[in-house]
Amino acid sequence: MTRFILSRALQIVVVLWVIITATFFMIRFVPGGPFTAEKAVTPEVLRNLEAHYGLDQPLWRQYLDYMGKLVLHGDLGPSFKYASRSVNEIIADKLPVSLELGGLSLGIALALGLPLGVVAAVRRNRFADYLCSSVAMIGICVPTFVLGPLFVLFFAIKLGWVNASGWYGPTDRVLPALTLGLVYAAYIARLTRGGMLEVLGQDYIRTAQAKGASAARILRVHALRGGLLPVVSFLGPAIAGILTGSFVIETIFQIPGLGREFVQSAFNRDYTLVLGTVILYATLIVTLNLAVDLAQVWLNPRRKFE
C-alpha cells in the first residue's frame, strides 16, 4: 500500500516535470510575445520590459530560474499582463470561484446520476428504465454550450427567476452548476446502470436473495459497492472534464473563475500565467486520479495495488 502510493507519487512528480518543461518551451517557440500587442512600444521600452521580466536572458537560464523559484518557494512568477500582480495572487483570487463551481456541479452530477442509474438498473427494460436512459441520453447529446444559453434564455430572460450572468448571490450559482452538472449526471447514470446490471447478475446476489434478504438490503449492502466501480473510475476523467468544462461555463455566465482567465491568458501570451494555470490544473488532475485509483482498490479488494 505505502509502496504503491510512493511509486505513484514519484510518477506524479515526473509527469508534472514533463508537463511544466514541455509547456515552458512550447509557449516560447510561438510567434508573438506578451508585449507585441501593446501599441507603439519603442524598442527601448520593449528592451526594458524584457529586461525587467528576465526575458533577455538565454532560454535555459530563464527555465532554470523559473524552476528554481517554483520548487523552492512555490513562486509562479509575475504576470506579464497584469502589471504588479503575481501569478500566485491571480490564482488565489480566481481558483476558489472555479472550485466552488466544480464542486457544486460534481455534487449535482452525483446526486442526480446515481439514483437515476440505480433505478434504471433495478427496473430494467421497464418504463422507468426507458425514461431514465432517455434522459441520460439527452444529457449526453446536448452539450453544455447549447444547454447553458438555452437555460439563460428560458430561466433568466423569459421567466426572470435568476440573473443571466454574474457571480454574486447564491442564485447566481444555480444555472452554471446545473448546466455543468447535468452532462456528467447523464454519464454517471449510464455507467451506474451498466455497473449495477453487471453486479445484479452475479451469483452472490442470487445467494443473498435465496437467503431472504430484502431487495433494499441487497441493493445497499451487496450490489452498490461493486456496481459503483465504473462510476469511481469515471470520476477521474469527470473531474478533469468538469475543471476544463468550466472554461465554457465561465464564458457563458461571465463568471470570474480560473477557466476564463486561462483562455484569456493564452490569447494575451501571458507566459507565466499560462504556465501557472497549466501547472495547477495538471497537479489537480493527476492527484485526483491517484485518489480515484485508491478508492477503486478500496471498493474492489480483488484489484491489487500494482
Partner: protein
C-alpha cells in the same frame, strides 16, 4: 464503414476465395462458414434495433444534405442581405437569417461539412495511431507492452484539452492542425481496446499457424490480427466521432475553431448564443441539429456494439 469491406479470410470467404485458400486461417471449414455469417448476423441484429437504424438513416440523410443541399439553394453561405438583417423563419428562408441577412439553413449545411469533416478526419487520425500503437504493444508483449501501456496510462492523466487550447491559440486556427490535435488526443482508448484484442488473438491457433508458415510480423499483425479485431474497432470508432465533434464545437465556442466566413456548427452555436435574446432561432436550430447528430451517432454506436461485440451485447 460497412462490414463487407473487411476482406479477410474469416469475414468474407466467398466461394472463390475459399477455393484459392491456403491462407493460415487455422480454423476448421465449418468454422469458416460460421464466421461468414458473423457479419450477416451482426447486420441482422443491427437492422432490428430501431434506434440504431434511425440513427444511421438520419446520419446518411444529414450527410447527403450537407454535401448536396447547398447546391440546390438560391442562397450561398456568405451572401449577405443587409437590408433584410435577422429575420425569423419564413417561406423564403426556412430557418431564418442571421444579423447579416445570411440564410441560416445554407450556413448550417455548409457548417455541417466542416463539423462532420473534422469529426471524420480527426477520428481517422485517432484510429490510425490507436490501432497501430495498440497492435504493436499487444503483439510484442512483455516489457515493450508494459512500457507502452504505462505511457498510455500516464497520458490519460494529462489535461489534454488544455494543450489543444494552447495549440490553437498559439499556432492559429488552422483546420488541419485542429483535427490532428484532436485526433492525437482521442487515440488512447482505441490503443487499449486494440491491445486487449490482439493479446487474446495471439493465443489463437490460426495465428500460430501463420507464424509456422513463416509470415512476416507485419503481415500477421495487419492481415490477420487487426481484421479479426475489427468489431470493437468499428464500434469504438462510431463512438469516437461524436466525442471529436464535441471537442471541435467546444473549441469553436471558445473562439478557437474555423475562421469566418467559413463556419462549423460550434461557431454557429457560439454566434447564436450571443444573439439569442432577440433572435432565438440563431441558437435553437444549430443547437438542435448538432444534438440530433450526436444522438444519431451515439444510437448507431450503441447499436453496433450490441450487434458486433458479443461480450458486451448482454447489456
Amino acid at each position: 464503414m460497412k462490414p463487407t469491406n473487411a476482406t479477410t479470410p474469416q469475414s468474407a470467404p466467398t466461394a472463390g476465395s475459399a477455393a484459392r485458400a491456403p491462407q493460415p486461417t487455422g480454423e476448421l471449414p465449418h468454422n469458416e462458414a460460421a464466421a461468414h455469417s458473423l457479419w450477416r448476423d451482426a447486420w441482422r441484429r443491427l437492422a432490428k434495433n430501431k434506434l440504431a437504424v434511425f440513427g444511421g438513416g438520419a446520419l446518411l440523410l444529414l450527410t447527403l444534405a450537407c454535401l448536396f443541399g447547398p447546391l440546390f439553394s438560391a442562397y450561398t453561405y456568405e451572401a449577405q442581405d443587409l437590408d433584410l438583417g435577422a429575420s425569423a423563419p419564413s417561406a423564403a428562408h426556412w430557418l431564418g437569417t442571421d444579423t447579416l441577412g445570411r440564410d441560416l439553413l445554407v450556413r448550417l449545411l455548409v457548417g455541417g461539412r466542416i463539423s462532420l469533416g473534422v469529426g471524420l478526419c480527426a477520428t481517422l487520425v485517432a484510429l490510425t495511431i490507436g490501432v497501430v500503437y495498440g497492435a504493436v504493444a499487444g503483439f510484442f508483449g512483455g516489457k515493450l507492452d508494459a512500457l507502452m501501456m504505462r505511457v498510455v496510462d500516464i497520458m490519460y492523466a494529462l489535461p489534454f484539452t488544455i494543450f489543444v487550447i494552447l495549440l490553437m491559440v498559439f499556432f492559429g486556427r488552422n483546420i488541419v492542425l485542429l483535427f490532428v490535435a484532436i485526433g492525437a488526443v482521442e487515440w488512447l482508448t482505441m490503443a487499449r481496446i486494440v491491445r486487449d484484442q490482439i493479446l487474446s488473438l495471439k493465443k489463437m491457433e490460426f495465428i500460430e499457424a501463420a507464424h509456422a508458415l513463416g509470415l512476416s510480423k507485419r503481415r500477421i499483425i495487419f492481415r490477420h490480427m487487426i481484421p479479426n479485431a475489427l468489431g470493437p474497432i468499428i464500434v469504438y470508432t462510431t463512438l469516437t466521432i461524436p466525442a471529436v465533434m464535441l471537442l471541435e464545437a467546444f473549441l469553436s465556442f471558445l473562439g478557437l475553431g474555423v475562421q469566418p466566413p467559413l463556419s462549423s456548427w460550434g461557431v454557429l452555436i457560439k454566434d447564436g448564443a450571443e444573439k439569442m435574446e432577440e433572435f432565438w432561432w440563431l441558437l435553437f436550430f444549430p443547437g438542435a441539429l448538432f444534438s440530433v447528430t450526436l444522438f444519431s451517432l451515439n444510437f448507431l454506436g450503441d447499436g453496433l456494439r450490441d450487434a458486433l461485440d458479443s461480450r458486451s451485447a448482454k447489456d
